[in-house]
Symmetry: C2
Subunit: 320 residues, 2 copies
Amino acid sequence: MLSEFEIIRRFFEQPARRPARGGRTPAGAVLGIGDDAALLRPSGDMELAVSTDLLVEGTHFRAGSAPRALGHKALAVNLSDLAAMGAAPRWATLAISLPSADEAWLREFAAGFFALAARFGVELVGGDTTRGPLCICVTIAGEVPAGLALLRGGAAPGDDIWVSGELGGAALALARPEYTEVAARLEQPEPRVELGERLRGIASAAIDVSDGLAGDLRHILERSRVGARVDYESIPRPAAFGRLGDPELEMRCVLAGGDDYELLFTAPQARRKELEALGAEIGLPLTRIGAIRLGDPSLMVFDAQGRPLPVTHGYDHFAA
Amino acid sequence: MLSEFEIIRRFFEQPARRPARGGRTPAGAVLGIGDDAALLRPSGDMELAVSTDLLVEGTHFRAGSAPRALGHKALAVNLSDLAAMGAAPRWATLAISLPSADEAWLREFAAGFFALAARFGVELVGGDTTRGPLCICVTIAGEVPAGLALLRGGAAPGDDIWVSGELGGAALALARPEYTEVAARLEQPEPRVELGERLRGIASAAIDVSDGLAGDLRHILERSRVGARVDYESIPRPAAFGRLGDPELEMRCVLAGGDDYELLFTAPQARRKELEALGAEIGLPLTRIGAIRLGDPSLMVFDAQGRPLPVTHGYDHFAA
């Protein structure tokens, strides 16, 4: 059987790093995997954005999930956090517990992880491998020019509320696995890293949609101490909902479905033209879905007739 | 039941940070818990040392372990990695999965974690809380002046081999729980942070003893491409072994017992006086246990009569 040292050497010593998308070639770590800690040399004029996520079998993914998709997703959810801060990804650590050292599983998991890492210039600099239930913990660090990070607390009354891509697809894939056209939204989410970096200096607040639109927007409202109005019909959603014929499930998926990893952000009305042009340039639709308003951090969602809709909560792992 | 947001707010928003031991008062994070990522501003002339460890119930600790001790240990094992690099601890993230949001358990766990964090000036800047089997992943970042980190690869023929404190106590506590005088070595390991920082510029190589002396020394030998001779009788060990009366178990604990989190390091012979004075100054015995020699990365251990002893391996989570 493979030892934990062999596992690290064979599957997690990174293939030669390719330049990131857009031709960036950041300097590598001073020291990567193989000592007690990695050594990094952050750029002097930048702030370091750091985030960690733990994915657990049975909670975040089904037993028997495809390992390549898991490798992708474990990194993608962390990249999405950096995107929501407007940070450029640099380094990651990976701690994983596994029931057994299954070589085929490890090869596929590493392939999914490193394919995404290579696309965004992420260097795997450290890790831990142990036996146990299948748990995957990725911690990621990225850089953002000092003072330019996108925070949750900057939304102001009058700002537009925007969302990238489409919402509800991941939740639909979970609820109705037969809708295979949305399966990739759940299994292979695309972190909006480029959009996040481009929103520096434009967006007034940002978050990624991991727990559902309503819950994640509430985080912005609470931090910014403002209210919001959202037009339900304006929320972009996958075409698959057209043939679902279940308005109640559709509303749950679109308003409270997690795991879409789109960016939800606010921006002054004066930036509309700029944002429309940005969406066209990077090939990612950006849609205005409502507005920030003065008042309590409450969210009102209206239907096409202007009637308020009941708003369900975002996903909470400890909710009864 | 508590929501994951309440868990974070109630148990993991850090108490006001106290100055670290020795009066250091490092600047706090630019942004801590509560956004998509933390924002840190590393010092410009320092390298960032980063390490991650995953502790899993049933693998690293018994079901029903005291939560306060677990909170301590989850951070201690990471601090020990920084100590082995000679880095000063700064920031940590904590990702945890729990079967349920047990308030008493969380309060005790947080108390153990933050008590140790306060002693070493560590700021908890981010985390993730989810439902699942009990798994704890801490990622830590510390700072070390550029070029001064203690690596595994610097041991040279003729160097002395040193170890701090005593070895084998944690393994004895695991094998014989009735030896209560060594229980704390397993449950409340003391990371040798101050020693690590003081060894900058003195030690030629260093590692922390997490998998056992033999296995961890081999990492130094492989990275440094040298051999080693160790005198078994010179290895410091807890007095409890005196009444054990089981030389075979004693040898397994001392040579291959993990979880002691002492520092194992090498240094030129010319530094002996300095190291003896350092041990006296910081109140931590430092003991010479052998020497590095030219040749293959093999480890020879000799008894008091100069006869070679069979050397068992360090702990491997995936060994058959």
